[in-house]
Symmetry: C2
Amino acid sequence: MANPIDFYFDYSSPYGYFAAMKIDDLAAKNGRSVNWKPILLGAVFKVTGGQPLPTLPLKGPYALRDILRSARFHGLPYQQPSKFPVATQAPARAFYWINDRDPALAKKLAQALYQAYFVQDRDISSPEITADVAATLGLQRDEVLAALNDAAVKDRLKNEVDAAIKLGVFGSPYIVVDGEPFWGIDRFDQIEHWLARGPF
Amino acid sequence: MANPIDFYFDYSSPYGYFAAMKIDDLAAKNGRSVNWKPILLGAVFKVTGGQPLPTLPLKGPYALRDILRSARFHGLPYQQPSKFPVATQAPARAFYWINDRDPALAKKLAQALYQAYFVQDRDISSPEITADVAATLGLQRDEVLAALNDAAVKDRLKNEVDAAIKLGVFGSPYIVVDGEPFWGIDRFDQIEHWLARGPF
């Protein structure tokens, strides 16, 4: 099988949510698997000087409109969260904790957390809510809460974020195929072209 | 005929160049005409705090790679200019000066200036070079140079840029269809959907 695709995303990124609902299908159609890698855009922005979308003059109001329209364009349910953006340590730590023993379940959790935030307006920055969402997938609520406070799990996320920044990841979604980086749900057309016909 | 499309662009924007080579075809296929409106991203960035792509940590190096790849993806010739970005008052003034009497010629000039900069690596920030490019389309070189220094032409560009900023234009290309704003060559899929099937 060809190289897996690396998929970097932040749980507070609407475009990351859209990508998360589509990337595995796109990859599978082309004989690829996907490594999911949640990151923290807050840490990235400390390096790049980036700012959350809603705070940007002119671009912020456009982005909120573009997000709603893009959700409709991609046929995905979406409701602008009342608190946006939020810190995403809790969902990201939960992901890596489960991913080591069950990557398929970790992806299901990632999608469920994205839906909790961007469809049901639940504040997944809260460890309690992250644990509630994990519980709907059969995970033990108290085990999840313990993992979120585990120093090893915290270090794991920190190392993943540091490695991503070192690689040049500056946004969400950020996808690497055969060493080639693609930023944004709007590069899915180029990713598809690359997967189907090779480098261009 | 349905409302014309407004197409805002900066002559120093690679994605604006890609859009300029495609937008009239896309519009015509859907029974629309296009008003071209060169702007100055430098003036916009004073309001938004934006920075030229090459200066941005992580995003800058990615952008240069994405631009080259996107040119290949869209089947357009492209050579990274040795000076990038450049000030674009000269080509923008030339455009508005001609546009008032011959919009079709103004579009041809806009495309020729984009090609001069992004294919032939000619520094179109120079009034001399802008006039040289205009001369290849049959315009009088000395008339163009005089127009670039005409206070009325300078005011015209300033007013167009101010009006664009007031409308919320923050990047290039920026396209407005029936009052709906779309930013980027990567929104051409959504623009096409809108033009063909109406608002969504």
